[in-house]
Structure formats: structure tokens, C-alpha cells
């Protein structure tokens, strides 16, 4: 703690002396590499040493290989309370916009193998739902947006290798955690689909994507 405090003071002093720029300009600067390294270690304590996800009391999602636009959008959603979570609001509210971009960029370039551990019994069903959807239940093919390989694009998240209990939790609790408050965000796109999937269909899709590389 003491060391970190001292480091912060030093950073601040050096920055102020060398650049004497406005707070707004500092905000847009890339974070100092020491600060970024420390924050990455903080993230990886819970999200896995290579960002592959982890099972604590809560399932911690895989961040590795995630679309940077999605990561940024989610961190902002936690800050603005559009997405509720017992841990992440508090984690995210201290992050500057430049730190958010740097973190998202870092995680998007990691590619550890999937966390694994999902039951394998319904993977075939999951693959079918993922690729063809369930027309009779108004569930579109996941692959249409998330890609055949599950890598996502832009604000559409990567699902490949996502931690199984995390996926199940998100799809079963979508309406309670996402799109909160009055502002409408992109999470609204998933709301009807999450609603139309049964628990066992959710488990099947979650198991299938959890093993994708």
C-alpha cells in the first residue's frame, strides 16, 4: 500500500512537472505503463492469470480474445449502472477512459485455451441451436451475429471459450442485469432471445460455445 501510494505521488509529480497540462489532456493520454501493469494484475486476479476466466464464488468471465469494443462498452455500462453486478460497478468506477481502452486492448490480444469444465452431454444440441437457431421459438441463429467461430465483432461479444456457468448465468438472468435504468443500450438486442430460450437450451448453447477456440 505504502509503496503504491508513493508511486502514485511520484507519477503525479513527474507528470505535473514535465507536462503541466490540463486534467482533461492527461485523461486522454495513455496510462503510464506501471499503472497499466498493476491494473492488469488486479483484473487477472479474478479473471484468470491469462484472462481465461475463473470460478470464484461468482463465475468470472473470460476476457481473453474479447472484442475490445464490447469490453469498453461493458465497463461503461457498469459505471453508468446500465449493467448491474455485485463486484464490477465498484471495480470500474475508478477507471479512466484511457485505462479502459488500454485494458480492453490488452485482453483482446490474449488467446489462452478455453477454461473448460462444461458438461458435454448436450453439446450437439447446443451446436444446432448456435448454427440454426430455434425458428419455432423465435430464437435466431447465434452464429448470425456472433460469427460461425463465436469470435463476435465490434460490440457483439466473443462467446468462444466463455466460462460455462457465466454464460448460463447471463442468459438466464439477462433482464435482471443488463439494460437497467432508462437509457436503452445494445443489450436490448439479446433480451427477447434470452427470454425465449429454455434453461436446458441455454445450458446446451453455453456448453457448446465454452469449448470453441
Amino acid at each position: 500500500m505504502k509503496a503504491i501510494g508513493l508511486r502514485l505521488i511520484l507519477h503525479t509529480a513527474v507528470l505535473a512537472a514535465a507536462f503541466s497540462m490540463s486534467a482533461g489532456a492527461q485523461e486522454r493520454m495513455a496510462p503510464a505503463s506501471g499503472a497499466l501493469e498493476a491494473k492488469l494484475e488486479y483484473c487477472k486476479t479474478c479473471h484468470g492469470l491469462s484472462g481465461q476466466g475463473y470460478l470464484g464464488y461468482f463465475p468470472m468471465p473470460r476476457l481473453a480474445g474479447q472484442q475490445p469494443e464490447y469490453l469498453e462498452a461493458q465497463l461503461k455500462a457498469f459505471i453508468e449502472r446500465r449493467r448491474t453486478n455485485p463486484i464490477m460497478r465498484n471495480v470500474a468506477h475508478v477507471l479512466s477512459p484511457s485505462m479502459i481502452s488500454a485494458l480492453a486492448n490488452h485482453f483482446s490480444h490474449l488467446s489462452p485455451p478455453p477454461f473448460g469444465g462444461a458438461p458435454r452431454g448436450s453439446i450437439a444440441t447446443g451446436k444446432m441451436i448456435y448454427e440454426d437457431g430455434l425458428p419455432e421459438s423465435n430464437v435466431p441463429a447465434c452464429s448470425a451475429c456472433h460469427g460461425a467461430d463465436g469470435h463476435g465483432q465490434n460490440e457483439i461479444p466473443r462467446l468462444a471459450g466463455q466460462v460455462y456457468p457465466y454464460m448460463v448465468g447471463q442468459l438466464t438472468g439477462w433482464a435482471n442485469a443488463r439494460g437497467q435504468g432508462t437509457a436503452v443500450d445494445t443489450s436490448a438486442i439479446m433480451a427477447p432471445t434470452a427470454h425465449n430460450l429454455t434453461r436446458s437450451q441455454i445450458e446446451a448453447v453455453a456448453a457448446y460455445v465454452s469449448y470453441l477456440h
Binding site: 500500500m1 505504502k2 503504491i4 501510494g5 498493476a38 491494473k39 494484475e41 488486479y42 487477472k44 486476479t45 479474478c46 492469470l49 475463473y54 470460478l55 470464484g56 464464488y57 461468482f58 468470472m60 455485485p86 463486484i87 465498484n90 471495480v91 468506477h93 475508478v94
Partner: protein, 201 residues
């Protein structure tokens, strides 16, 4: 083990009103070998932590790490490496299940004036200082889950010693995030956390 198993089965049939675990506890030398140090009620004693109410998967993982010498702090080396050397995995599993079934009592031996500070760190961490929330892994009431240990009510000395050991570079279960957690904690945070946790029921 086979003999113990058979004993359990017979005794359970004969005295069906008595729970299996308490019968086993009364009969088992393996349990007595643990409780010499961990306290007769397995509630912990001086440097030996409480085992009562601990997560069974955690107890097993720690027995394994003593056995494989991956948990390597001085007390572990001195006491536990030898204690588990001859323990077979089946007895380890039964011991874990037995101790997990005993209701835990809080040690209540921390500094009460630090408890609320400790609770804040436990729940929220200190994001500005990159100190993570303990709650994310150990649960809202420090009850633990799977092989993540219950911390609520453990002795102040033990929590403090463990956090200091990680910070000093001693190891535990391979892949544990705890060394990384501990390096960010200063003495004040450790003291506050150990105090808070000692009072958690």
C-alpha cells in the same frame, strides 16, 4: 479404511439414530490425530487453524498440497508434511467430510475497532490501490465454495499469518491467485481483514 468403512456401515445399522459422522469420530484414530493440534472440537488451537465447517474440497486440496510439499510455509513444513505423509486419499476424503460437517464457531479474537474497515475491504476491495474484493471468490459471508476456503470466524493469527506468508513468497495450492492478492495488501489492510473475519459467523 475398509475396516473403518465396515465399522461405519455396521454401527449405522445398529444405532440408526446416531449420525454416521459422530460414530466415526468417536471411533477414529485418524480424527484424534488431527484434533491433538486442531482442538478437540476441531475449532482450532494456537497456530493450528479451525477445521470445523471448512469446505471439504478445500481440506482435501490442502492435504494434497502438504503431501506434495507445494504448501511450504514453516508451520506446514514442520507439522503438516509429516502429518499427512501416511494418509491415504480415502481417509483424507472421509476426514474432510467429517470436519466439514462440524458447525464452526467464530474465534472472535480480532480488534473489534478494525472490523468495519475490514468489512469494507472484504466486500469492495480498494480499487484505487488494485486491492481486489475478497467477496468475489470467498462469498458474501466468507463461507467459501468448492475448494475456496471458508474464512469467516478463523483466528486472527491464522488469517494474518497466511496473508503474510503469501506476501513473503511461500506457496500453497498451485494456480491460486492469493500470492497476487497478498502482494498488494499492506500491514494495515491485513490487520483489518484478519480482525473482521475473526468475528464473522
Amino acid at each position: 479404511m475398509k475396516r473403518i468403512g465396515l465399522q461405519i456401515a455396521i454401527l449405522a445399522m445398529v444405532a440408526s439414530t446416531v449420525s454416521i459422522v459422530s460414530v466415526w469420530a468417536g471411533e477414529s484414530a485418524a480424527v484424534r490425530n488431527c484434533t491433538w493440534c486442531h482442538g478437540t472440537g476441531a475449532q482450532g488451537y494456537t497456530v493450528a487453524p479451525r477445521l470445523a465447517g471448512q469446505r471439504p474440497q478445500y481440506i482435501m486440496s490442502q492435504i494434497r498440497s502438504f503431501h506434495e510439499h507445494t504448501r511450504d510455509n514453516p508451520f506446514s513444513k514442520q507439522y503438516m508434511w509429516g502429518a499427512v505423509a501416511a494418509l491415504n486419499p480415502y481417509t483424507a476424503r472421509d476426514l474432510a467430510a467429517y470436519f466439514a460437517s462440524i458447525p464452526p464457531k467464530p474465534a472472535n479474537d480480532g480488534d473489534a475497532s478494525l472490523a468495519s474497515r475490514g468489512r469494507t475491504i472484504y466486500m469492495d476491495g480498494i480499487p484505487e490501490a488494485n486491492i481486489v474484493s475478497c467477496y468475489a471468490c470467498h462469498g458474501p459471508n466468507a463461507e467459501g465454495i468448492r475448494d475456496i476456503p471458508r474464512l469467516g470466524g478463523l483466528a486472527h493469527f491464522y488469517i494474518k499469518a497466511r496473508l503474510e506468508q503469501w506476501e513473503q513468497g511461500y506457496h500453497s495450492t498451485p494456480g491460486s491467485p492469493m500470492p497476487m492478492v497478498a502482494t498488494h495488501l499492506g500491514p494495515e489492510e491485513v490487520e483489518a481483514l484478519a480482525s473482521y473475519l475473526s468475528f464473522v459467523r
